[in-house]
C-alpha cells in the first residue's frame, strides 16, 4: 500500500483552482518530487499533504497509511516539514529549536538532550559547537541543517521539503542535494520534495510528479520523464526539446543531443528524417557545443554536440553555414494534445 495517496484532490482560493483534481501515490521510503514552474500548485499540494490547507469538499481525499486525513491536524500526521524560509524560531537556541517538538511531546529531559545531539549529528552539526547559538548567528547552509534536524528528531514517517535549497549558493546546493538523497536512503524516511528546478528534481528523485496549472502533467522516474515526455509542457520543462511536425501531423519532440547536425552537402546516414536550415549561433559550453539552427518557416531548433575533443580545435560550425538537421524516427516522442 502506498504511504500517501491523493484521490482527485482539488483546492480553490476564491475563484482560482490552485490544485485541480490531482491523483497520485507516494510509495513508502521513496524520494518523491513535485516539480513545476511557480504557480503550478506544487506548494499548495504539499501544504494539503501537511494539513495546512483543507482540500475542497468535493469528494477528493488525501490518505496517509490508507487512512483519510480530512479531519486530522498537521501534528497528527506523523510528518516533518522543512520550510522555504527555514522558519527557525529566532528566539530559541539551535538546541531548543531542535528540542521544540520533543518538548511538546513531554519527552524526558535527558532523552531530549540525547536525541537533539543525535539529530544534529545526523545533519553533520556539532551540538557542542552549535547547540547554544541562535539562528541569526548561522549561515544559510547551517540554518538549513538545523531545520532538517528539527524535523528529523521526531522520527517522522514522511519529510516534506518546500524548496529548501532555494536560498543556498550553487556549490553548497549540489552538496546538499546529494546529502538529502543519502539521508533518504539511510533513514528510510519518505521524502516529498517541492522544487521548480528540473535539474534538482532529476538529480535527487526516485519519482517526479510534474505539475502544470494545478494538474499533474506526468508522474514517473526521472528517466521515464526525460526519455518519454507525454506532453509538450513536460518535454520542454524537463530538459530541452526540439518540436517538429511528425507523420500524419502529430507533434513530436526530439532532444537536442539526439538531433543530427550535418553540412547541407553532406550525405545523411540512412534512416534519418532531415530538415534544411542555417546555423544562427554557436554556444560553447565546455562539455557541450550548442548549435542554434534556423529552419524554414522562421522556426528554430538546437543541436547539442558532446565535446569529445573535436571542440578544442576551431569550432566546426560558424553562423551562416547551410546545414541539415535530422533525427531517427525511434528518437521522436509523439506528444499528446493537452
Amino acid at each position: 500500500m502506498p504511504l500517501a495517496q491523493f484521490l482527485r484532490v482539488s483546492k480553490s482560493f476564491g475563484a482560482t483552482r490552485a490544485v485541480d483534481a490531482v491523483s497520485f501515490d507516494i510509495a513508502r521510503g521513496e524520494f518523491f518530487s513535485l516539480l513545476g514552474p511557480s504557480g503550478c500548485g506544487k506548494t499548495t499540494t504539499l501544504r494539503l499533504l501537511a494539513g495546512f490547507e483543507q482540500p475542497d469538499d468535493d469528494g477528493g481525499d488525501i490518505r496517509i497509511g490508507g487512512i483519510s486525513t480530512l479531519s486530522s491536524r498537521p501534528y497528527e500526521r506523523n510528518l516533518g516539514m522543512v520550510f522555504q524560509s527555514y522558519a527557525l524560531f529566532p528566539h530559541l537556541t539551535v538546541a531548543r529549536n531542535v528540542a521544540f517538538g520533543l518538548e511538546r511531546r513531554r519527552v524526558p529531559g535527558a532523552e531530549i538532550t540525547r536525541r537533539v545531539a543525535e539529530a544534529l549529528d545526523t545533519v553533520q552539526l556539532d551540538s557542542r559547537e552549535f547547540g547554544g547559538r541562535r539562528p541569526a548567528g548561522l549561515s544559510g547552509g547551517q540554518r538549513q541543517r538545523v531545520a532538517l534536524a528539527r524535523a528529523l528528531v521526531l522520527e517522522p514517517e514522511m519529510l516534506l521539503l518546500d524548496e529548501p535549497l532555494g536560498a543556498i549558493d550553487e556549490k553548497l546546493r549540489r552538496e546538499m542535494q546529494l546529502e538529502l538523497r543519502q539521508l533518504n536512503r539511510k533513514l528510510g524516511i519518505t521524502f516529498v520534495y517541492v522544487t521548480h528546478d528540473q535539474d534538482e528534481a532529476l538529480t535527487m528523485s526516485d519519482r517526479i510528479a510534474v505539475m502544470d496549472r494545478g494538474r499533474i502533467a506526468q508522474v514517473g522516474s526521472p528517466a521515464e520523464i526525460y526519455e518519454h515526455p507525454r506532453t509538450e509542457f513536460v518535454a520542454t520543462f524537463i530538459g530541452e526539446s526540439n518540436l517538429f511536425e511528425g507523420e500524419g501531423g502529430a507533434r513530436i519532440a526530439i532532444r537536442p543531443e539526439r538531433t543530427l547536425l550535418i553540412a547541407r552537402e553532406e550525405a545523411p546516414p540512412a534512416g534519418y528524417r532531415l530538415l534544411p536550415g542555417t546555423v544562427e549561433d554557436v554556444i560553447y559550453r565546455g562539455e557541450m557545443l550548442r548549435v542554434l539552427v534556423r529552419l524554414e518557416g522562421n522556426r528554430r531548433c538546437t543541436a547539442a554536440l558532446r565535446n569529445e575533443g573535436q571542440l578544442s580545435r576551431p569550432l566546426p560550425w560558424t553562423p551562416g553555414t547551410a546545414v541539415s538537421v535530422g533525427w531517427k524516427p525511434e528518437d521522436a516522442r509523439v506528444l499528446a494534445d493537452v
Binding site: A50, F52, R73, P74, Y75, L79, G80, M81, F83, Q84, S85, A87, L88, F89, P90, H91, F100, G101, R104, R105, R134, P135, A136, R150, A151, L154
Partner: protein
Amino acid sequence: MTIRRRILGAMTRRPALATASLLLPGGFWLAVFFVVPMLLMLGASVMQRGIYGGVEPGFTLEHYRRFLDPLYLQVLWRTIAWSALTTTVCLLLGFPVAWVIAASRRHRSLLLFLVVLPFWTSFLVRTFAMIFLLRDTGVINSVLMGMGVIEEPIALLYTPFAVLSGLVYGFLPFMVLPIYASLEKLDPALLEAAEVLGARPLARFVRVAVPLSLPGILAGMLLVFVPAMGSFLTSDLLGGAKQVMIGNLVQNQFTTARNWPFGAAASFAVMAVVLVAVMLSLRLRDRDPSIRWSR
C-alpha cells in the same frame, strides 16, 4: 547657489555635521520646552511655598516629607493600581485586535483606520460623551430600565468602573498599534512550523507568538501605563471627587490650593514610579534575546 553648495559639500565631507544639523532643531525645542521647565519644577519642589502661589526662596524637603502622609500615599497607590489595571485590560483587549489586524490581508488598512479614528475628536469631548453614556439617566441605564432588566438606575458614573472604562478606552490604541507592528513582522511559517512539531494553539501562542511580539507588548504597556499614571481628566470627569488620582492632586496644588512646591514634589513622585516602570521594561527586553533577533 554657491553658499548652498558649500554647505552641502561640508555636510557630505563631515557626516557628523549633517547629523548635528538634523538633531539641532528638535533638540533645541526639547531643551527649551522640556529640560528647562523640568529643572524649574525640580527647583520649585525644594523651595518655600508662596502665599499667593509661586515660590519663595529657601531650601526645604518639607514637601517631599508631606507627600509621605498616608493620605497622599493612598492616592499614589490608587493611581499605580489603576494604571496597572488599565494596562492589563488594554493588553487583554488589544492583543486579539492587533492579532486580527496583522492576520487580515484585505481589511488591514480599514481596521487600522478604525483603531485611530477616535483621535479625530478631542479626548475631552470623548470623555464628556462617556458621561452621557454612564450617568443615571444615561444611555446604558435607560436601555436596561426600558428592557425591564433593572428597576432602579445602576450607579456607573463617579465609580472606579467609570474611571477604568475611560482610561482603557482612551489608551487602547496605544496598546494595539505597537503590538500590531510586532505581529505584522511575525513570519506565519513560524506558527506552522510549531504546529507540525506538535504545538497546540495555546503552545503556539505562548511559545512563539508572545515571545516574538514581546517588543510590541512592552512598548504598548509603557505607552499605556505612563500616560495613565499622569492622567487627571478622566478621573476628574468620570470619577468625581471620590476617585482622585495623583494627576488631580497635582493639578489641584497648582490651581486652587496654590501650593506649587507641593504640586511639583508630587509630580516628581509620579515620575519616580514611571522611571521604575521604564527601567523594568528595559531590563526585560535586554534580558530576552528574542527582541534583538526580531529586529
